[in-house]
Structure formats: structure tokens, C-alpha cells
């Protein structure tokens, strides 16, 4: 199989769109159902995320007056393409894409694209709420990226390489644990969950930065968010969960680990109120900073 084909397969089928969309559906449903059960409610039926996206696909798109049509419609596509491409280079078992030197850097850049798309979506929508949401999203990404990037870079430091496969082969030690905790610290804000659901605070700014989106573009944003959730959980599993020599077992372990991480994050989200932007920022720069410093120190003393 030529390299181009393997990339296409990785993006479109495994572990890309065809695999990630149903998994994202499952994970989103799991989160919503768990939240509902924790709150003593019945919760949505299993098909709910699917119905939401399908319904949005069948709706009219209203484009606000004075908005650049091209950018407005391109943003969700770019966002979806970027997360799918990012997922395609995560070395899940059976991924046809060969591991390249420096693919971690590519991955980290691709993971920033959906955030940028959200920020831009807020700004191009010409809605003041969208602009506030975009501003919050941008500032928050400055905050949570400190522990998030440090967790990955610490692992790369230990592995001595910016290659995903090398990361998986690092022998287990205290750095793994510390880096995993640092990663988990950043996860709620990356997933825009409580107490860091500041950019999509529905009672403060009505909706998140896609407030002016409707119909298929909104559906693409939802899909892109679902795949981002898959990407984050699977990235955590691939980097921090010990691998067995049998790839099929690995896959099951990764999926279960992803669901467990989601469960933990959801539990935190359900038991907390939303913080203010300054509080979240301070939290990430103080506690995230301390966690990052300890992790980096551990990589050095090892």
C-alpha cells in the first residue's frame, strides 16, 4: 500500500472518520447519560447524538448579514478535517500510517486548529456573544495548554524523541504518572467541561462561539467536537496506558481507558460549578504550573 493510500485510509476509515464518528457518538452519549444518572435523571436515549447531528444536517443554514460566507462555511470543515487528520496519526493498533519522526509536533499543531476555528467562528459571526466566547476560548487555551503541552513534552523528553511510537516504548516510571496527572489536569478545560466550561457558558453568554451557526455547519462543529473527545481520550490512552504485546487487547484496553477517563472528567464536571475566567486562568497557571514543574523536574532527575 502506498503512503498516500495509507493516509487516506487512516483519515477516512481507521482510526479516522468512519471509526471516530461512531465512537464519538458513543462517548458523547456516555457522558450525557452519566451526567443524567448522576443527577438522578433518565437521560437521553442511545441514539440521541446521532439524531442531533442528522437533524442539524437536514436544517436550513442561516448566514447572518455582513458575514464572510466563505470563511463562515469553511471553518467547521477545517475544524473537522484537522481533528480527523490528528486522530489519523495517533498510533492506535492497526493504524496504517507509518510513524514519522516529529509526528508529535504535527499532532499538537493539528490539535490547536479546532480551537482556532472556534475562536475564528466566534469572531466572524459578528455576534457580540460569539466574540466574548471566542475571547474566552482564546484566553483559556493559553491557560490549559501549559500543563497539556508540558505533559506531552515531558514524555518526549524521556523518550528522547518526538515520535509517537517512541513514546509508547518508554519504560514505565514516575514520570509517566506525573505526566498523566498533568495531562488529566488540562483535560476538563480542553473538553470545555465544568468547572472550566467558560467558553460555552450558556447562562452568561447564551451559547458558545457557534452561536450564529445553524444547520449543517453546526452539525459539522458538533461532529468535530465528538471526534476531538475521541482524540483526547485515545491520545491519553496511547501515551500513558501500558501496552500489551497483543494489538487487539491493546485496542480494548485503550477504549476502556478512554471511557474511564471520560467518566472521571464527567464526575468532576457534575460536582462543580463553573469558575470565572480569571479564576480558571489562575488555577492553570498556579496548579498547572506547579504540576508542570514537578513533571519536568522528574524528567531531569531520572
Amino acid at each position: 500500500m502506498s503512503a498516500v493510500w495509507s493516509y487516506l485510509v487512516a483519515i477516512a476509515v481507521w482510526p479516522g472518520l468512519l471509526f471516530a464518528a461512531p465512537l464519538g457518538w458513543l462517548e458523547l452519549w456516555f457522558m450525557r447519560k452519566l451526567v443524567a444518572r448522576l443527577q438522578g435523571r433518565q437521560g437521553p436515549p442511545f441514539f440521541q447524538p446521532f439524531f442531533d447531528v442528522m437533524k442539524l444536517l437536514g436544517k436550513e443554514t442561516v448566514i447572518p448579514k455582513g458575514v464572510n460566507r466563505g470563511i463562515f462555511l469553511a471553518l467547521p470543515l477545517v475544524s473537522l478535517a484537522a481533528v480527523t487528520a490528528a486522530l489519523a496519526i495517533v498510533p492506535l493498533p492497526g493504524n496504517p500510517v507509518p510513524s514519522l519522526p516529529g509526528d508529535i509536533v504535527l499532532l499538537l499543531y493539528l490539535m490547536e486548529v479546532p480551537v482556532l476555528c472556534e475562536v475564528l467562528a466566534g469572531y466572524v459571526s459578528r455576534s457580540i456573544y460569539g466574540q466574548v466566547a471566542a475571547m474566552r476560548e482564546a484566553i483559556l487555551s493559553l491557560a490549559y495548554n501549559l500543563p497539556f503541552l508540558v505533559a506531552i513534552i515531558a514524555m518526549a523528553q524521556v523518550a528522547g524523541s518526538f515520535q509517537m511510537r517512541a513514546l509508547q516504548e518508554v519504560p514505565y516510571g514516575p514520570v509517566h504518572l506525573l505526566a498523566a496527572l498533568t495531562f488529566l489536569l488540562a483535560l476538563p478545560a480542553r473538553m470545555k467541561l465544568n468547572p472550566f466550561s467558560i467558553a460555552n457558558a450558556e447562562h452568561e453568554i447564551i451559547a458558545d462561539s457557534h452561536i450564529e451557526y445553524s444547520g449543517p455547519p453546526l452539525a459539522l462543529f458538533k461532529l468535530s467536537h465528538a471526534i476531538e473527545v475521541v482524540l483526547l481520550t485515545e491520545l491519553f490512552a496511547v501515551v500513558f496506558i501500558p501496552a500489551t504485546p497483543w494489538p487487539p487487547v491493546n485496542l480494548v484496553v485503550y477504549l476502556v481507558a478512554g471511557i474511564l477517563v471520560l467518566g472521571g472528567v464527567t464526575l468532576l464536571a457534575t460536582a462543580t460549578a463553573r469558575l470565572r475566567l480569571t479564576q480558571a486562568f489562575r488555577f492553570y497557571w498556579i496548579w498547572g504550573g506547579i504540576a508542570s514543574a514537578i513533571t519536568m523536574a522528574a524528567t531531569l532527575v531520572r
Partner: protein, 182 residues
Amino acid sequence: MAMLKTILGNLLRPSRTRAPADMPVVPPTYRGALGHDASRCTACGTCAFVCAPKAIHFTQDPGVSVSWHFFIGQCSFCGLCEQNCPTQAIHLRSAVPGSMNSAGGDGLRLESLIHLQPCTRCGAAHVPLPAATMDALWAAGAEEVERGYCPECRRWAASARLRNAFLPEGATPAAEGGRHDR
């Protein structure tokens, strides 16, 4: 911590949600849509008077019938009409009115027809008294003939009785068959 304990407890308990088909029961005191009993109505108009949103009104077909009209799209379900109805012809059923496709124009409009009856004495069409009221008024069985009278004839009959009671003994009572003004 209290929240964490609560939500973990919720996870262990069955959910508190009720399915759409299994909603909380409607208490017997619930004030739902109006029901009207034409056989008890005297068309006195008290309900239309006390109704703040003017959901009740009367129309008449002179000499034939009086109609009681109710429009649900104007009702505030306060229950004043039920409370003030002297003959208990109106009752707020505990059934919850369901959603409907048109209420603005021709939603639930109740119309209740009260047929007029000719007076057995003068023949004037009038709203008959409810059977229960008549039974209460004529319980003794006296003046049975007045049951079918119109209000004016009843008044006339009552005043005639009163007049006769003051007549000196031996005087001839007023002649039957006098007509009241119409």
C-alpha cells in the same frame, strides 16, 4: 463534598424521571377545563360577570334558546365561575386540557344550549328553573301549578298570594288570568 455524596447516591438509586406516559397524577382538586350542565343553568349571567378574562358569554336566540359560550383560549382557570354559580351548573373538571392544533381561532369552544320553555300560564318563553331548585322550592307540594311559570308569572302569583292574605275575610280574591306587562 455534599454534592459528590449526593450525585454518587443518585447513581446508585433508580432515576427520578417519570416517563411521558407515567406522569404525576392530577389531584382531584385540579382546576381543568370547564364543564357546563345546561339542565341546571338558569342563565343568570353571574359566571360571565365574575369572569375576569371574559371567557364566558351568553347569546340568545329570542324565544327559542339561550346559549352559554366558553372559549378555552381566554380562560385563566381561576375557578371563580364555579364558586359563584348559584345552581352549581359549572364545574371545573380535573381533566387536564390537552394540547391542540388551533386555539387562537377555533380551539376548544364550548357551547351549551339552554332551551326556553313556554310559560304554562302566559306562554312567554323563559329559562326553566333547574329540577333540583324546583324540588327544593316546591318540596311541600304546594302551588304545584306554579312549576311551569315564567319568572314574571311567579312574581305575579306570589304577589297575588300576598294580596289575598291581607284581604278581609269574605272578600272575593283577585281574578285569575290577569296578565303581567311584557
